[in-house]
Symmetry: D2
Subunit: 348 residues, 4 copies
């Protein structure tokens, strides 16, 4: 190695990470690893630590596994339990500026107690009491809401009031202003999905507060976004541009139900349509591009006929599933579960 003179002067001593703080690097000597554990090696490792360096050869098994052995684990949360806890939080925890939302996140047992359902996805039960307002804010995290039961909350997205009802799917791209208010006399719970862990890992989150109160308490049955973008295959000429996240803020249950039903009837008539025998599935898509509703989250709705069995799948991406209706047997890895309405489980 040719080393020019002008950088030779520092050779004697590695530059310490900082004169006053100890290095966080800790290198373990591994018995059956390549280099024998000599005093010289110990000294080298110590100098690595002081220099903020980590050798690949002590870390490669963890960093570069043969296949992604996810730290996340398959796990099941019962809706009945989640709801009971949410109700108790409704009694004890106010909603407002600062805490922002009465949302309780699923914490995957494999992820060290962090509120992450999978390494990239956040899933939480949000609960709003009669008359309550979850104050306006916006953030770069992409989000969706899915309503497993109940109705009566309106989400205001950039001033557009969107009713939430059982079966509705409400995607919402990052950086849209949004708030929720419960216009009824009963509480309401729903599922919040976000890409918080992904944004956290890539450190790309921005957040901004809006007003504490909602702009409008109007409760229209249809949002403005549905009126502009909710007509199949019809895009407004005034806005006919591709946008990376869907301009349609809600996908109504009636439509999803009809689409799934149509697939099964096509199967009855022996025409293509279902994903596999007895298994209908639709993907929520951005009508301005035909692609996924959100850049970081794919969302689908699946329906199985009674007694239908899906083939075993192996996937690289992680996913969170919620049972909308019915009851069934699920097997994730070695975990067999009987699941029913509202139950949530993670496929890591």
């Amino acid at each position: 190695m040719r080393r020019p003179n002008d950088v030779a002067r520092n050779e004697g001593r590695p530059l310490p990470a900082s004169p006053t703080t100890p290095s966080p690097v800790r290198i373990q000597m591994i018995e059956d690893s390549q280099p024998p554990a000599t005093p010289q090696l110990a000294e080298l490792y110590s100098d690595f630590e002081a220099s903020m360096m980590v050798p690949l050869w002590t870390q490669i098994a963890d960093l570069m596994p043969a296949s992604p052995a996810s730290r996340a684990r398959a796990h099941l949360w019962r809706w009945s339990s989640l709801l009971r806890l949410a109700e108790r939080a409704g009694d004890l925890v106010p909603v407002g500026r600062g805490g922002e939302r009465r949302a309780m996140a699923l914490a995957n047992p494999g992820l060290g107690g962090r509120p992450f359902a999978t390494p990239t996805l956040w899933a939480a039960v949000q609960y709003l009491m009669p008359g309550e307002v979850a104050p306006e804010h916006r953030h770069t995290q992409h989000a969706f809401r899915f309503v497993i039961e109940g109705e009566g909350v309106w989400t205001l997205v950039n001033g557009d009031p969107v009713a939430m009802r059982r079966g509705d799917f409400l995607p919402q791209a990052g950086w849209n202003w949004h708030s929720h208010h419960n216009a009824t006399t009963t509480p309401m719970a729903w599922l919040d999905g976000l890409d918080i862990p992904f944004v956290h890992a890539t450190e790309s989150g921005f957040f901004e507060f809006g007003p504490e109160d909602v702009d409008t308490t109007a409760t229209p049955a249809r949002s403005r976004s549905e009126r502009l973008w909710g007509h199949p295959g019809l895009v407004p000429v005034s806005a006919a541009v591709s946008v990376p996240s869907t301009p349609l803020f809600v996908y109504r249950w009636e439509r999803t139900d009809a689409a799934l039903d149509d697939q099964l009837r096509l199967e009855d008539e022996q025409h293509p349509g279902v994903l596999e025998k007895g298994h209908a599935a639709v993907r929520f898509s951005n009508p301005s591009t035909g692609g996924d509703v959100l850049p970081t989250i794919r969302a689908e709705f699946h329906r199985l006929r009674p007694d239908a069995t899906t083939r075993t799948r192996r996937e690289v991406g992680s996913s969170v599933w919620q049972v909308f209706q019915g009851r069934g047997e699920i097997r994730v890895g070695d975990e067999p579960w009987t699941v029913e309405r509202g139950d949530l489980f993670v496929v890591p």
Copy 2:
């Protein structure tokens, strides 16, 4: 100019286009053009002709105009007249293999009597008598049908029967098998739009005959394509791939009507949506991409409030318009027309 020896031997005489046929090239000497009309120039031009060459300087005004002065002209066809002619053709001209369709094309007065509505678009009235079948074929030309009135014909697209009813728009990408059959006791007429002139100019047309009779005379109210692709923002997971032409074979009038109505109501409530004051417009789009329904044809539906006036537009592409309902004043260039239901006009 350095000219190597090995190509010098042909210099004496230009190679004739063909020993036996005269050249089709004819070069005019233009008085006020640059070179003076000398005998030498005449001889050069004669040799150009024999050599199948044309100088730019005699053609540039036609070939490279300052702006596209379309040969096509603004023109209006009255639906009542077209329909009367179509009815007479119904009496005199059978439908079947060879002629393929009882379609009568609009011939733009500026395009030399060719059946081209504009330099790139074909528009024709097609007419089908009770019980008749227009036999199956396919072609690379992209097509759509638009139903100005009537119902009772089913178009079979790759075996999928698609009902045609007033207000429906039926795009159909090139190379799909298709036929029509009239399942009623009354005739039916509709508008056929194709890119025949474009394909003709680029010489990219292929055509293939199918069976003379239809596979099925089933008359379902909804086609299979609607059941798979007609749900807003929902794409079948079994087929979730981008395709260049729309997989949805019909855009129903009820949906288009509702979308246009929604835009005008949003305007009533002072929200964005309309294209301009009193002017709602939707674009028919491919749900798998969000883009245009066909690679070569853009299709839109516009609605004007009573007394609304659109701003004057200048466009480069050519277009064909048909009045769906109501009555109005149109001005194209210097042509002012009062148009009503069914009337067709060309903007060159």
Copy 3:
């Protein structure tokens, strides 16, 4: 057909195309076509003509052929002949404003004497005498130049002087200002390729004059575009945006030669690279997208080893080929030709 009352009143008479001018539509009755040639049919056809309508059934064979039987024909032009004619034009025809260029276009024998090499491509020999200037203009037509021999002309593209030398390929997107000037004491000829026929058919041409004289007579060996974009795989951060046409204004012969040579050497070493046995080929590409250099024109350079034979191809697009060096046998359809340096031929 249900016809509402309000459009019934016009039924009696079709609206004439215009009261004063005769219709250009002429419909032929074809003996072996479907409808028998009755007086009623003749009257219908006459009314079609008056109404500017053309039935599909008399035109379908021409409009929708089973496969594109191009009107264009395979044809060969000898470079030696073209050059001799160009030299004579150099003596007789000045270059300047109005005629714009001393360019002589190849007229395909199948295209009626029009200056079109194929239905979509223009190919012309341009010839510039010592000291001459072809004045600045711009147009929406996309263009390229290819230098079969000689050197000494600079093309100014938006003020950037680009030297032209044997083997160089100079693409130039529509709407760039450009002019040429010959800085030497010998004439120079080259091939101009444009999409004039395509733009003519789609009526999308705009054209604008610039100054009659060139901005600069500088004769640098390398253009500014080469300095910014001519480094393989390196794009300037100041301009790193995808543009639809190449920002590199010239592809030098030395580079093309080396690339083709490299492919043949890879073949010698039994590695992939050549298109087929003994046949190297490169495509000129837009470094900002990796795609074709121009939206409407694909350009490639092919090299065959001595005695190599390419497989027979059938293509849909039309092409123009020029022999850069060597001598060979070409077969297009039934036409066998012996071609040599500079010869041009069309594959329709």
Copy 4:
């Protein structure tokens, strides 16, 4: 909240995460947070922990900061120190199967001692002794090598030997087989860059071992990939397809040097090209797309004139910089450093 009967039976007790293992969830009561710290709240939090749930309101400050306050810190590593440590590792640590590479990664002081230069990037010094072979493997992580000094190692990428020399940049998409061998009598060090932290966070890593020895010890001056893809604007017709990662395996210093030099000369002549005054910059790009060389890593080379000062930038993405030659002052946040050849620093 309407709760149907059939899910009521589980209400009494939340389902524990697992009967035998304690939950990893730990919820802190925060004094100045919204809900008062009552026994009821403590019990709720305890039940949250048992149920694998985490409330948003205790975590939001960390999870959703107003702007990304990266855990990573600006940090500087001296090349001279790194090289000295690498040399000592050369003496003590063998290279071979298992450890795979003698690579020493930069550990950002803010990332807890993990071998991550930034939250998404890995940067390591790799060191190979005379005659050594780093055995073949492949992984989904994307990688590049950059040579700060020395030469004599060949990287075999899918069997293609690529010479490594000072200034060369060698990107290598995930899942390509690769190995290194030192064909000289002197050691060689270089910089390895990978997206290991990103792949780790998204758990998308696969890894596979190849043979322990190299297929070939050939030491050609040019790789096959350069011969196919290293010609500016020329793509092989045999392979002209867009691929997401660059098919060109090395960007030679001579080319980068010339491109940067050209930009500064254009600036001398007052033409556009540089990024800002005195600051030339090129981006390494994929010749098949014009886009970034790798899906997850952007790579650029910058050159500053003596005494040039760049404007202050604020960026969201993280980056690692290495000084190729010269000496200068750098300020990252509040850190002012004098840097010289080889020094590496992180901008978080």
